[in-house]
Amino acid sequence: MNREEAKLILQSYRPGGQDAGDPQFAEALALAKSDVELAAWFADQQKFDTFASRKLKSVAVPPDLKAKILADAIPAWQKIVELPAPAWWQNLFRSPVSWAVAAIVVIYLSLAIFLKPQENSARFADYSAQMVSAAVNDTNHVDIENSDMKQVVAWLGEHHGENKFVLPVALNGKTGLVGCRVLDWHGQRVSMLCYGLNGAGHVDLFVAEAKIFPDAPPIDQPQFASSGGMPTASWSHDGMVYLMVGHSADADLKKLLQPETAASAEMRLFPQCFRL
């Protein structure tokens, strides 16, 4: 271990000495004893950490906070604690025989589901609902932030996401790209491109292979709908399915994808498509 490595480790050593027994720090602490410069650095760090820790812990807590917590949470706690005694059918599962019967039923149902054709699990509406939920609810909205389409495409390729897609003119790759993400849908990789567009706000475009959806949307004919309160547009093109999700209820995806000046449906969607 060199001095710089020791410094990185010792930075996580709490000033109150709580980590003295942690073997992770032993080697770095030993080095600090024999290396004068490291020892001086560590002493200074500990002085700073002790000061910051003491001050942070001295921040006053509102005197009424505890009463508020108890007033808010205790009714919920009591409701849980006062749940009625288990019903007769709950007692059934206290016997090993019942567990064995239950296990057989579960295995039978699993086999039945496994052997059943997969069409139902790949319904486009289910896919759409799950992608909207991922777009709206997931903590990490994008895996990487990057506005350079070439780098985003390369990243998607490296992470086994779909990276051969044709973007509509509204997302022609020149502006507004924020980042991307790779998601999983029943074992199928789905790429998500996130855009912040002037005039249309925040939209996400999900791209997956069309063959997994028996009810994939029509080719080059955007279908406008709403899922989870968010506007969506979906279409197929060249073996891929595209799902666009707007992040505000009033996002006008129709206006975005079908400028009235273009003549045919395909021209409205892909007048100067950005092919990757």
Binding site: V59, L65, I69, L70, I80, H141, G196
Partner: protein, 165 residues
């Protein structure tokens, strides 16, 4: 051993939880809300935690998730996870005890990017080891160590700036 009562859990943890919340949130009221929501979640779901010795970590993890959930509405584009930041090392002068009080230290901490704020606040509250912090923030241990290290440099910069004003 008897399970601790709900009030015992509150007594043991609400103060450090509040200080952690205060370092994350932008106002005292938001911090109080975060702590109250965390204990409401404990009231409903805490009974499902088999190992009650993990209550403290559960509460800090839940508070951090609550914070991230609230922030998501304001910021749809989180920062990319990074394991190290290298924009030039800060050579801090030797530290001399300053006249800064708790509010000043908290204010300096709040100036930092949230990437550093959360691990640093947990580190200085001294309730958790770096391993526990990694669990609470749901990031790798190496990332916690580099964020604590980099966060301290940035905090010292903030201290110097505040004292030189």
């Amino acid at each position: 051993m008897d399970e601790p009562s709900f009030e015992n859990i509150v007594n043991a943890h609400y103060e450090p939880l509040y200080r952690f919340a205060l370092s994350l949130a932008r106002s005292d009221a938001d911090a109080c809300d975060l702590v109250q929501q965390t204990f409401c979640r404990w009231a409903v779901k805490g009974g499902q935690l088999r190992d009650k010795s993990k209550a403290k970590s559960w509460l800090f993890t839940t508070l951090h998730r609550e914070f991230l959930g609230q922030r998501r509405h304001d910021d749809r584009f989180p920062k990319v996870e990074i394991s190290s930041v290298d924009d030039g090392e800060f050579a801090a002068p030797p530290f001399s005890e300053s006249k800064m009080d708790g509010a000043n230290v908290l204010s300096a901490l709040r100036q930092l990017d949230e990437t550093y704020r959360a691990p640093l606040a947990l580190f200085y509250l001294e309730e958790h080891s770096y391993r526990d912090i990694a669990g609470i923030l749901e990031i790798p241990i190496g990332t916690v160590m580099s964020r604590i290290s980099r966060g301290k440099d940035l905090l010292r910069k903030q201290f110097l700036e505040k004292e030189n004003r």
